[in-house]
Symmetry: C2
């Protein structure tokens, strides 16, 4: 049916946009991670995350999207950001252990989920 | 730090775009749901979902995004679409039970997760 195919084609266009946008978002959070590491800033900022959730819920209402879903979505993305941060932390740790500072204590574990700037 | 604030502001813009795009996507899948119901088409199309996953993984690679994450993301969205479909099916069922067709058999359960057009 022509109408069904037309809507599916719009869904496909939206999905492509979502993928490229998510890629940009991860580039941005990666930049934040490196910036904080370079300036020895704490990884986490719980106030920032609370503000992000409140803002997304408000925007979701404006868009007639379930605010609970918007919050679940942000948490889903943050979960992936944490996975990235952990991978970066592991790379740093491996580099420290194999480099001239191999006798220094191990880096501390990655920040807990609620404390990552995402 | 100005650079950190600037990147966070970009993340906030991306998040707003994601929320409004997701709202459009749910409007589209809702249209598909109503269209299929009106034309008595089967709810599911497993071939469509397989094609969507393959395409998103390919686009993710192009965007330097983890293809496994792109697939997880689509499944996350599909989970929400299923929740919407189930809610619509329940509404229809309630309407049937309370309307002139109250003696007709109950509507079948919502389509299983792999068979929803998402």
């Amino acid at each position: 049916m022509a109408e069904l195919l037309s809507i599916r084609s719009s869904i496909d266009n939206i999905d492509a946009t979502l993928v490229f946008l998510l890629a940009e978002r991860f580039k941005a959070t990666q930049k934040v991670g490196f910036l904080k590491a370079a300036h020895r800033l704490p990884a986490g900022d719980p106030g920032r995350e609370t503000a992000q959730i409140a803002r997304l819920r408000r925007l979701a209402e404006e868009a007639h999207l379930d605010p609970a879903f918007a919050e679940k979505f942000l948490n889903f993305i943050i979960g992936e950001v944490i996975r990235h941060h952990e991978a970066i932390a592991e790379d740093h740790q491996a580099a420290e252990n194999n480099g001239p500072g191999a006798n220094k204590p191990l880096l501390s574990s990655p920040a807990p989920s609620t404390a990552v700037d995402a």
